[in-house]
């Protein structure tokens, strides 16, 4: 195959010593460590979720001794999953793949890249250490004041403070990472790699980085002010002392809604790399997809108050309209994806199956989200389990499906060996059933009026559906076992991947698997967004 001629002759192995890994500035090792660290936090967050679901299986308190512990479980579950799993996991993929995709030898600032990585376990350890210091934060991942203020019926103790400090650290990591991505993408592209020849994943990381850069410092300011309120007698957010609780909500969601797109755009980018490869067709509507991504990024800044409809303190028609509008570019993307597969030569390898899982599950999450954009509907559904169902369909059905699609797709590039296809498909089936079993019943209990964030419920009509969701959550947990087994087995004895096992067309497949520390010996001519296709077929594209 023509591509082998430009890959380095000998594939380097990833056996460095421990010291080498701890001190590395290589974006590939850093990316892999991002992914490993995020996966560990994914398992921890999953255990916390199992605690939540176990308690809710039956009415009454069985699993936790009091509601405070239950509050800690769901607060820490969400915090770990959002800030220590989804966001860094996607950043890890960006770290590994983006420099390879644009033909760069590394990120623009390798040492700052290492700093971004190591801030994450530091923040995670601080956050989890609160369990040993009198209990974790229990005001929900949103930490609304006055609940999160240091006062009776609020959050006394160190848990909330540690939560604030660790989120500031993780946010700093994100900001530094986003600067690194932007400079890398703008300044380090290979000759011929114009902006409109970049792979879609690089575009989504670009837009995501802009969102992180503009939004994350804003939540840092909110967290700083909350910290001042709690520790230095500040008067920002506690209505009892002249502050405004709605002010916190505004600042918090000004970050946290764009953060929703931080958690999904790179996953969309990964899907957009995978679907064309396994359909043997170029992505349908390349430029439309890029403009849709940019539109989501821009509109993402104008919808934050749809989380606050019921406060009565926001301008409802505007935020409702903008929320409906943001569904339009998402619809454009669905059109792109489906048209990419249309009349393609589909092969159903594991990455493709997870990508299809993403499409179907994210569609449900998108539709039930757009539903709640309607103000009267939202008033009825606010803070019910409907919201929990929606956010898990987009975050688990969307982001997590995308993450596993990416893991199966790029694992051969990272380690030189294929993951096992059968185990991958077994994992998919168990996970797909588990996720629908867990999250679909939440729609129904939500419509029936079950509020979120309660440890106990008296309504017997909710029991069966809750039990079903609990069974589903354990099914999801089981689905992790074939994956972990798969990774350990395949690292030692998986099929040798070769440079380009999927016959993909982006630059990362032009080098060896795993790539050498400097990434490329030679780059092919880049004359389209599919340089390896041009190379294989001996002609240049448009």
């Amino acid at each position: 195959m023509a591509t082998t001629t430009i890959a380095p002759a000998t594939a380097s192995t990833y056996r460095g010593g421990l010291y080498e890994w701890l001190t590395t500035t290589d974006h590939k090792k850093i990316g892999i460590m991002y992914i490993i660290s995020s996966f560990i936090f994914f398992l921890i967050g999953g255990l916390l979720a199992l605690g939540v679901r176990t308690e809710l299986a039956q009415p009454g308190l069985q699993f936790v001794s009091n509601e405070g512990i239950y509050n800690q479980l769901f607060t820490m579950h969400a915090t770990v999953m959002i800030f220590l799993f989804v966001i860094p996991m996607l950043a890890g993929f960006g770290n590994y793949v983006v420099p390879l995709m644009i033909g760069a030898p590394d990120m623009a600032f390798p040492r700052i890249n290492a700093l971004s990585l190591w801030l994450l376990p530091l923040g995670g350890i601080l956050l989890l250490s609160s369990f040993l210091l009198g209990g974790g934060a229990q005001a929900g991942w949103t930490s609304y004041p006055p609940l999160s203020e240091d006062r009776p019926l609020g959050s006394t103790g160190y848990g909330q403070d540690l939560w604030i400090v660790s989120l500031i650290l993780i946010g700093t990591s994100s900001i530094l990472g986003s600067i690194n991505f932007l400079v890398t993408i703008f300044k380090m592209r290979a000759p011929g790699m114009t902006l409109f020849r970049m792979p879609i994943l690089v575009w989504t990381v670009l837009v995501t980085s802009v969102l992180v850069l503009m939004a994350t410092p804003v939540i840092t300011s909110a967290l700083m002010m909350l910290f001042i309120d709690r520790n230095y007698g500040g008067h920002f957010f506690d209505p009892a002392t002249g502050g405004s609780a709605v002010l916190y909500q505004n600042i918090f969601w000004f970050y946290s809604h764009p953060a929703v797109y931080v958690m999904i755009l790179p996953a969309m980018g990964m899907i957009s790399e995978i679907l064309p490869v396994f359909s043997r067709k170029p992505l349908f509507g390349y430029k439309a997809f890029i403009f849709a991504t940019a539109a989501i990024g821009a509109l993402g800044f104008s919808v934050w108050a749809h989380h606050m409809f019921t406060t009565g303190a926001v301008f409802l028609p505007f935020f409702s309209l903008m929320t409906f509008l943001i569904a339009v570019p998402t619809g454009v993307k669905f059109f792109n994806w489906i048209s990419t597969m249309w009349r393609g030569q589909l092969t159903f390898s594991t990455p493709m199956i997870f990508a299809l899982g993403f499409l179907t599950m994210f569609l449900i999450g998108g539709i039930n989200g757009a539903f709640s954009a309607s103000v009267p509907v939202d008033f009825a559904l606010h803070d019910t389990y409907w919201v929990v169902a929606h956010l898990h369909y987009v975050l688990f059905g969307g982001s997590v499906m995308g993450v596993f699609a990416g893991l199966y797709y790029w694992f051969p590039k990272m380690f030189g060996r294929m993951l096992d296809e059968t185990l991958g498909k077994v994992q998919f089936i168990i996970m797909f059933i588990g996720l629908n079993l867990t999250f679909f019943p939440m729609h129904m209990v939500g419509l029936a009026g079950m509020p979120r964030r309660i440890a106990d419920y008296a309504n017997s009509g909710w029991t069966d559906l809750n039990l079903l969701a609990t069974i589903g959550s354990f099914t999801i947990a089981v689905s992790m076992l074939p994956f972990i087994w798969n990774v350990f087995v395949s690292l030692r004895s998986g099929k040798i991947a070769g440079d380009n096992p999927w016959e993909a067309n982006t630059l990362e497949w032009a080098t060896s698997s795993p790539p050498p520390p400097y990434n490329f010996d030679h780059l092919p001519e880049i004359r389209s967004e599919r340089p390896l296709f041009d190379l294989r077929h001996g002609k240049t594209g448009h």
């Binding site: 380097s12 590395t24 500035t25 290589d26 033909g103 760069a104 030898p105 590394d106 623009a108 600032f109 390798p110 900001i175 986003s178 600067i179 932007l182 400079v183 703008f186 300044k187 380090m188 592209r189 290979a190 000759p191 011929g192 790699m193 114009t194 902006l195 850069l213 503009m214 939004a215 994350t216 410092p217 804003v218 939540i219 840092t220 300011s221 909110a222 700083m224 002010m225 001042i228 230095y232 007698g233 500040g234 008067h235 920002f236 002392t241 002249g242 502050g243 405004s244 002010l247 505004n250 600042i251 000004f254 050498p516 520390p517 400097y518 990434n519 490329f520 010996d521 030679h522 780059l523």
Partner: protein
């Protein structure tokens, strides 16, 4: 700027060269366009702008919810014609000397560069000392962090600005130290440019803070 990079120049570098620094990290080699460190600093400043936007948003929201502002107890406590005016002038002058230092190193005039960067560094420290003294005066008049929303917003905004001045002084200190070690030339002085951009940003934030906290009726 768009298509060029130096990825191809890595061909032939051994793993050792690539693993540690990445040969492409030195922005000077970029053909044309802004250098990597300066673009990085501009993006960092963008994030800082958003951080202060959050604080200013909280300030104006709090201010709008309380009347009168300042509360009667603190009417006239923040006097724009007092010590703070001198501190403001000092910070503005330091921005000018900082720019003079940058202009000097662009010409390759290391002597003028060192003189101006030293003056900037000292003026930054003087500003911080004056701010601390001003805080002690305000504490004496009963204006503290926990003295209602007025005190909280005042000390949070000026405090975070002071922390940023402190960060800027450290950057200037590093530039100064590297300068005494004989570094920087007309071609290689990204650190000077980056530190100066940050210093100007800190200065602009202060001018806005001064206008909002002291001058806005």
């Amino acid at each position: 700027m768009t298509a060029d990079s130096h990825a191809l120049t890595t061909t032939g570098h051994g793993p050792a060269a690539g693993a540690d620094h990445g040969p492409a990290t030195a922005g000077h080699e970029s053909r044309g366009g802004i250098s990597n460190p300066i673009l990085g600093m501009l993006l960092f400043i963008t994030s800082e702008v958003m951080f202060f936007a959050g604080l200013f948003g909280a300030y104006f929201s709090t201010r709008a919810a309380h009347s009168p502002w300042p509360p009667d107890k603190f009417a006239g406590t923040l006097n724009p014609l007092g010590l703070i005016l001198i501190a403001t002038i000092i910070l503005v002058i330091s921005s000018v000397t900082c720019q003079l230092a940058v202009n000097a190193i662009r010409r390759g005039d290391r002597k003028a560069f060192m003189r101006n960067i030293t003056v900037t560094f000292i003026l930054g420290i003087v500003f911080l000392i004056m701010q601390m003294y001003d805080y002690s005066v305000l504490f004496g008049e009963g204006l503290t962090m926990d003295a209602g929303p007025f005190g909280t917003t005042y000390f949070t905004l000026t405090g975070f600005h002071g922390a940023h001045v402190f960060g800027g002084v450290i950057m200037l200190g590093v530039v100064l130290y590297r300068g005494t070690a004989g570094q920087f030339s007309a071609r290689h002085h990204d650190a000077v440019e980056a530190a100066s951009l940050y210093w100007h940003f800190v200065d602009v934030v202060w001018i806005i803070l001064f206008s909002v906290l002291y001058l806005l009726p």
